[in-house]
Symmetry: C2
Subunit: 321 residues, 2 copies
């Protein structure tokens, strides 16, 4: 790829950074500091990107709209990460201390709540449809996390359960970003649907790769420790596939079911997974889904933004190693 | 008082109950159960009442609007209580187990987040002004809670700090309810302001009495254990005033500064507070504020709804014993 997939929206993304920092300013200095700490720790900004690309792909012209909506989604997403990190007792996020470790759990819960509100604030002038999209995604996110909790340390978890979990956790929000962009960009119902499906599938592929990186990633690049999903007993596709292996599956199941796995067990589990064909199967699955994401763009008129979405589908699965 | 202050809006409040339960229905059964558990545990529904009364006091005619907006505020408030209870490690709320004790902390955090979203969902068709009111209140709530945390176990806390804490924690949300009701009911800017100030002051008086009940309330009636604020080192007006007492103040300060006060210390502290004139001073303060709340209604046209707001000001301080 000559230029990165996002080069055509770099100025919009820079605007998002400015707007997010501006939005998260409060009378209380510490609250401001905490919210800005979370935003400033970066991330790939995929959610605003999907919103902005879908907006322009439908012919939207005014930069302010997708920048507001995209920033809203990123702020709400960041708020959910704060609460996720508390729930998972995560210590490191994007290479930095998680918010509740740097401050306190109490203040982190409150800061998360305030960020939720501020995210919705950015949507208040955009109309009820967009609020509807984000709410639908939020409810799905809650349901997805409930299913995830129910299958922690449960070796009976299936690929279907996993798809339901990652739909709610990641893909529905990706879809909502794209639909919000497409809707505000003046897209037809068909275009809104197509761009929504495109991002939904990108979200699935993205999450599968993300879960693979927990097994085989380079912590220097991902900013995350390896094996944390296993340590927490989170059901992910690499584990699910590997547990099906006729030779190594049973031993892995036993480790996965340990309520308090030791670091030694986790190391062993990672080794076992790598001995199976699980990561290859996961990668193949992610590539299939990413290809199907592209197909949804068939009837979207050609533009640099459509090309960018196509490149994004390749980028998502290129994070493999 | 012949009939209770809310009798003129009882049918609206019943509609709120129905709408809240309907709104909190999800594909995930457990999520539905959790959210409905919180709503079904009742409460005084003051926030929807302020919204509905202010709406009708401004001449609003359509029941659906204040019922939606009032329900939205109650749902968002309930969501914040879930997170509060986690932060305070509260075990009992309204005479029942708190959500994170009945289920798990993780699921309670998620359920709270989902409820926030659903609250905003009910506001999506009401227009950006109302979203603006609730967001402003949410940010103030966050700030208020930060100040509260900063003065936990700190005997240097002043009445000014306390007023800032309860403004954010309670009064600003009361104000937002009333302003949202008045705005959607077609009130003039002066009416919106007056009804907002009325509810803001009701909120202050309400919170002072609530904090008194933590010292002198009857757990059978309040549904709450006594002395929990002291146990958690929360700065409240009864403690602040009592710490100023020339005879008993010093001993109370020492107990308040204990980072992990024993139940014995808390019992002692409650005794000390009751030996001072603190509760009388608190009650006088609450009555003054409640009276000033009434004065803001001077230019609002007479109606059963205005009378109800006036009666509510009396009710708020009648909870004393």
């Amino acid at each position: 790829m000559d230029s990165p997939w996002h080069s055509c929206i770099d100025s919009d993304l820079a605007e998002c950074e400015r707007l997010m920092m501006k939005t998260l300013q409060f009378e209380n200095k510490e609250l401001t500091e905490m919210c800005q700490y979370v935003i400033a720790s970066g991330g790939k900004r995929l959610r605003p990107s999907l919103c902005i690309l879908s907006y322009y792909a439908c012919g939207g012209k005014d930069q302010r709209t997708p920048v507001s909506v995209g920033s809203a989604f990123e702020i709400v997403h960041s708020a959910s990460l704060i609460h996720d990190d508390i729930n998972d007792q995560g210590e490191i996020r994007r290479g930095r201390k998680t918010l509740h470790k740097k401050y306190t759990m109490t203040k982190a819960i409150i800061a998360g709540d305030v960020m939720f509100s501020m995210g919705f604030d950015l949507l208040k002038n955009v109309g009820p449809e967009v609020v509807g999209y984000i709410i639908e995604a939020s409810a799905a996110m809650g349901s997805g996390e409930f299913v995830q909790k129910d299958y922690e340390h449960a070796s009976g978890v299936t690929e279907d359960h996993y798809m339901k979990i990652i739909s709610g956790k990641t893909a529905k929000i990706f879809e909502a970003c794209a639909k919000s962009g497409a809707f505000t960009g003046g897209g037809s119902p068909e275009e809104i649907h197509a761009l929504g499906e495109n991002s939904f599938h990108l979200g699935l592929a993205f999450q599968i790769i993300d879960d693979m990186l927990d097994v085989s990633g380079d912590p220097e690049k991902t900013g995350k420790l390896i094996g944390t999903d296993l340590l927490e007993g989170k059901p992910t596709l690499p584990t699910i596939y590997a547990m099906q292996d006729p030779v190594y599956g049973k031993e892995l199941q036993d480790i996965f079911e340990e309520p308090e796995a030791s670091l030694e067990s986790v190391r062993k589990a990672l080794e076992l997974i790598k001995k199976t064909d699980s990561l290859d199967r996961c990668y193949k699955k992610a590539c299939e889904i990413s290809s199907s994401a592209k197909k949804f763009l068939g009837d979207i008129p050609d533009s640099v933004y459509k090309t960018s979405l196509l490149n994004l589908a390749d980028y998502v699965v290129s994070r493999k190693r």
